[in-house]
Amino acid sequence: MLAKFLDTIRARITRPLQYYQDICVRCGACIDACHFYVASGSPAHIPAYRMMLVKKLLQQPNHGWKGRGILGWYRETGMADERMVTELRQALWECTGCRRCSVFCPFDLDTALMVNVGRYALLQEGMGMEMAAEIGNAEVSKGEIIDALREFYVDQVRELEGRIREEWGVSDLRIPVDEPARVLYVPVVGEHAIIPLAKIFYAAQESWSLSLFTATNHSFFVGDIEKAKQAAHWIVEEARRLGVQVIAYAECGHATRTLLNFWDHWFGDEISGIQRVSVVQLVAAYLKEGRIRVREGAFDGPMTYHDPCNLGRNAGIYEEPRLLIRAVATDFRELTPNRELNWCCGGGGGMIAEPGMLEVRMKAGQPKVEQIQRTGARWVVTTCENCKTQLADLSERYGLGVEVRGVVDLIADALV
């Protein structure tokens, strides 16, 4: 088992991973960065320890020479045992990939990148988040059967469209699907990701089309980059077929990060000339340009904003959500710390999809709970589907009594 595991992981060591392992001085600056370690006190949750574990594994002698003697002692290679496997599972699966530790690291080492590679290798051995991996597979195969699904999907959207028209009293509101347009909006699963945008696009008189696919990419969570690419490629094809100028992703952390920071590497020239944005950036632009107007102070009471790791420190979207919130809130309060030092909600990295991880993520959310309590907020607003689910679960478990909302929901509710 070990030999195959090592081969899988070795084949996926890229240049940064190679020097991350070589140069980490184990100074311990990352100890205070990880919400898992802060909540559990378990060494396998320290980012540098996660790195060390994989490094130790990679230094295991392959065959013949057993790594005994002084070099074996020096490299601590004699421990590929049960304890190591337990620690490895903890280190690689109990991580949200939030990269807060990279901000703390004096060398900016990216532990999450290594965790991602390690996860893939573990999964090949049948150890880990199989549910998330299965959803990832479904996202890949969806593209192959999309023609069979289209009619059913369009029917559902028409029904939703009818409901919004009735509720809003506008007969000309449309939810275009699979039509040539300027903006291709890619939602996440569920009508809550479509309704607010249908209203906002209507108000802004945008030429848009709803994607047949969803932004979420579970293969990315489990480190299967080949499949992650395949799943995202369906959206690239759709965008090119419809001749759109802009691809806008729903409020979804990991998908937005891949869209903004990975697509250049994944698709290169295929996506040249297509602007890629988070829907939050798009809506903020509408507000700034005066294409939509909102009721000032529509939400009366203390409100705070949680920077999702993948939109904040991993994609640099800090100002747009704040601009939108300030337009509708009367009492906006920042979390401390915030922005790139914000605590992760504890639910990222695909854990939401995995029922067995509930207790792990509830525990990892403790720093977040304390942070929210200190603000005294009534609303916690964020821009990531994962964070929303996790924050709502935390609120229920720890009795926070807060309402969790997305930024674009607020805007849709406050439209005039």
Binding site: Y20, C24, Y49, V103
Partner: protein, 237 residues
């Protein structure tokens, strides 16, 4: 003992230099032959322009400003140690040549040069050494003990050993720098000269430990010297 001293003075220095540069080249080659980063691994906020990002990475590398923000105590330990090391390294230029231009500019005689070196060298050495003991103590404290492996202790003890033998020469002997110049010029030209007597017995130990450091340097965590600029650039790519 005399044989060992002879080896450390005249034979192993050449090996150390070869291993040091060869090892660094091998290290860079090992990085270079791997496939490049799979995506933009940026951390935000980051400067917009390429030049801005390079400057930000370099400023962060030389000031550790990111660490200062999250862990001031560790920053102080790390930063002061590296600063002391930099001063010490600059001071060691005097072992091979001298700051002739500077002395001329200041119009300082032998006496003054020597007094200045004694004071500056002691301060630099202290800045370097005291944080090393802090970093060593830290290795056993709290969660850091989970992260401490033999290599960490090896490096710290090696650096402390080099510092203490250095202090021995600085504080307990009066080193004739002409002797040093002759010795190193001899090594460089393969026309061996006697080991500097005025430096005392600590000299050969100091010299041997530095060679050990040079041999180890490319193969362990000290390769962060060259690797950290790469990781900082990748985090701003």
């Amino acid at each position: 003992m005399a044989t060992l001293a002879f080896l450390f003075a005249y034979i192993t220095p050449y090996m150390a230099v070869v291993v040091f540069f060869g090892g660094l080249a091998y290290r860079v080659f090992r990085w270079w032959r791997k496939p490049p980063a799979p995506a933009h691994l940026s951390l935000f906020p980051r400067p917009q322009s390429r030049l801005g990002r390079l400057l930000d990475a370099l400023v962060d590398m030389f000031t550790l400003k990111g660490l200062l923000r999250v862990n001031p105590l560790l920053w102080a330990g790390g930063f002061i140690m590296h600063l002391g090391l930099l001063f010490v390294l600059v001071g060691h230029i005097r072992a091979f040549t001298d700051f002739y231009f500077l002395w001329k500019l200041l119009n300082w005689g032998k006496e003054q040069q020597h007094a200045f070196s004694a004071v500056a060298g002691t301060i630099a050495g202290t800045l370097f050494t005291i944080p090393l003991f802090y970093l060593l103590a830290r290795r056993w404290s709290g969660a850091v003990k989970w992260l401490s492996v033999p290599e960490d202790f090896f490096v710290l003890f090696l650096l402390i050993g080099i510092a203490l033998t250095g202090f021995h020469m600085r504080l307990l002997r009066t080193v004739e720098i002409e002797e040093l110049h002759r010795f190193f010029a001899g090594l460089a030209s393969f026309r061996w000269q006697p080991v500097p007597k005025s430096a005392g017995p600590a000299f050969i130990w100091h010299f041997a430990l530095v060679q050990l450091l040079m041999v180890y340097f490319p193969f362990g965590k000290l390769s962060h010297t060259i690797g950290s600029v790469l990781s900082k650039m990748v985090a701003r790519s």
